[in-house]
Amino acid sequence: MSGDILRILLLILQLGFVALLYVILLRFARTLLRDLRSAEQVQLASRSGIGRLSVLESPDDEPPAGTAIALGPINSIGRNVNNTIYVEDDFVSTNHAMLTFRGRSWFVEDQGSTNGTYVNGHRIDRAVALSFGDELTVGRVRMRLER
């Protein structure tokens, strides 16, 4: 007799267990959907994001260290205030380097600067393709290309 009751209890518990698994899955699905919707909005807000330069090290604080510079397709870097990215550093030339987005990837080219342009610690002598996460150094300013 008590065996029968246990069997019935077992059946109910078993069904409850599987149902609970699906309740959990539904909750996962809801959270995923909500996240996707908010991601869509974030993407709409920053539609033109082809990349940014985050400043890792900048002794004279122009551009300030710890900030990120939004990039257009063509960016000139130098000590002249007319450059897209103005860098205040004694070791940077007036027109130092050019950072351009061509097709699907970023390229950087030195503009005949005195102290050179460095990618991941290596001095470049021609236009070099950059990956996201690469480090770009002009003068004493160290920056990283990010998505």
């Binding site: 059946l11 996962f28 699907r104």
Partner: protein, 446 residues
């Protein structure tokens, strides 16, 4: 300091942490026919581990992904319920005067894994440092393999284990992580070169071989040794992960095509050359040819799947015993999915697949949120590796593909696998933290 609550994670964890003790209760009632609490302390220990991990992440201000930990909790919970239900003498540890059963040992490894996961998630927020030591990773990988070749001993015709006093370790598990880190670092550096430059022979574009060379050499060495160790599942896993990462990094279909052609050719050669490959394929094609010999395991597994049906036999009520032993050999490692499908039915098995799918989806999401190529590639590689592993062993269980013995992540019994999988989750959490906050190395103002 402001506390950032991980409320979505908590909301998802709560029902899971109720489900695990419920599953233990059902098992206990079914096995003993009484309301005796039995091994409930294990379920409570499991719940405790996840609560502590959640609180630790909150306390350290971790702002990474909130769906991964609950998904892992659900998979591991179903696995632990099943391991607790199986005879406890299938595996276990004894040492230092303590004797631990199978489920207890598994819980212990969960504890170790979760401590490491939190440590990596919190301590490696600047995971970019991994990138700078890429050839060290390659060297560690080769060392791990060499150690297995020289010191390893065989279980079931595959030499995978190294004996380290109280515990045996499978070097293939850490090797998986090391290899993914190396490939991610290498591809992040050469990605632009691999996509922009091409060698052309006639009308066909070929990948620029010189840039591939270091990777191909290492990869060839790994594959060769893995095949020498008779570990086909791991070989398939490495190859699939590598190909996926290559495709994600370059966006070139031709690389995938070349890889697949190489795979088919390699599989054909392996089938012709190695007896064990041939026998695996023969069993897969027709397990009923020798149902009491070579085909015993898959035939029993198919019967178990059939008995399970849509709703399952019920926890603790399936799994026919043959004398005093279970009828499916290695039901606690390679065939745990079959055991779950028998007792929870197709519905329960689908739920498990659902949790795994959530995990994979979140991994790819983390990759899209990463700000650098290395982080994105690392996330893709880690998640492909976990997902593919689940796919290979579940496919083997259900006779979709030839069976190769690897573990189902977070579900199968096995310390090396559990710890390695948790390390991978820790890395993913670290990547997602950076992706969410955009946090960078502390600016150096001297």
């Amino acid at each position: 300091m402001r506390i950032t609550w991980r409320s979505a994670e908590l909301r998802l964890l709560v029902p899971i942490l109720f489900a695990v003790p419920l599953g233990f209760a059902i098992t206990n009632i079914a096995l003993t026919d009484t309301l005796d609490p039995g091994s409930m302390h294990l379920a409570l220990g499991y719940v405790g581990l996840f609560v502590v991990a959640h609180l630790a992440l909150v306390l350290f201000g971790h702002r990474g992904d909130q769906l991964i930990l609950p998904a892992v909790g659900a998979m591991g919970g179903i696995g632990l319920i099943m391991l607790n239900r199986l005879p406890q003498d299938l595996a276990g540890t004894s040492g230092f005067g303590v004797q631990l059963g199978m489920a207890e040992t598994q819980l212990l490894w969960f504890g170790v894994g979760m401590v490491l996961m939190v440590a990596v998630a919190v301590g490696l927020r600047d995971y970019g440092v991994l990138r700078h030591y890429k050839y060290s990773w390659a060297a560690i990988g080769i060392l791990l393999l060499a150690a297995t070749l020289l010191l390893g001993y065989e279980v079931n015709g595959a030499r995978l284990w190294i004996d380290l006093g109280p515990v045996s370790v499978q070097p293939g598990e850490p090797l998986k992580i090391v290899l993914v880190i190396f490939i991610a670092a290498y591809l992040a550096e050469t990605r632009t070169l691999l996509t922009s430059a091409t060698m052309r022979i006639g009308p066909v574009h070929f990948p620029p071989l010189p840039y591939f060379l270091p990777m191909l050499v290492l990869f060839g060495a790994v594959m060769l040794i893995v095949v020498r160790l008779n570990d086909l599942g791991t070989a398939l896993l490495f190859f699939g992960t590598f190909l996926t990462m290559l495709f994600v990094a370059t966006g070139r279909r031709s690389y995938v095509l070349i890889g697949l052609i190489l795979f088919v050719a390699g599989a054909f050669v392996a089938y012709r050359l190695f007896g064990h490959v041939q026998s695996r394929v023969d069993i897969w094609v027709d397990p009923f040819a020798d149902p009491l010999g070579r085909g015993f395991q898959p035939v029993r597994a198919l019967y178990a799947l059939g008995r399970g049906g849509l709703f399952g036999e019920g926890l603790g009520q399936g799994l026919v015993m043959l004398g005093s032993g279970l009828t499916i050999p290695y039901v606690h490692t390679d065939f745990i999915f079959t055991a779950i499908a028998e007792e929870l039915g197709l519905l329960g098995a689908f739920a498990l697949l659902g949790f795994a799918a959530v995990l994979v989806f979140r991994g790819l999401r983390i990759a899209t949120l990463a700000h650098e190529d290395f982080g994105a590639l690392l996330a893709v590689g880690l998640m492909t590796s976990l997902g593919l592993q689940a796919l290979i062993i579940i496919g083997g269980n259900t006779k979709l593909i030839p069976l190769t013995g690897i573990t189902l992540p977070f579900v199968s019994y096995g310390g090396s696998s559990i710890v390695a999988s948790f390390l991978m989750i820790g890395l993913l959490l670290a990547i997602s933290h950076r992706g969410v906050t955009g946090e960078q190395e502390a600016p150096n103002r001297s």
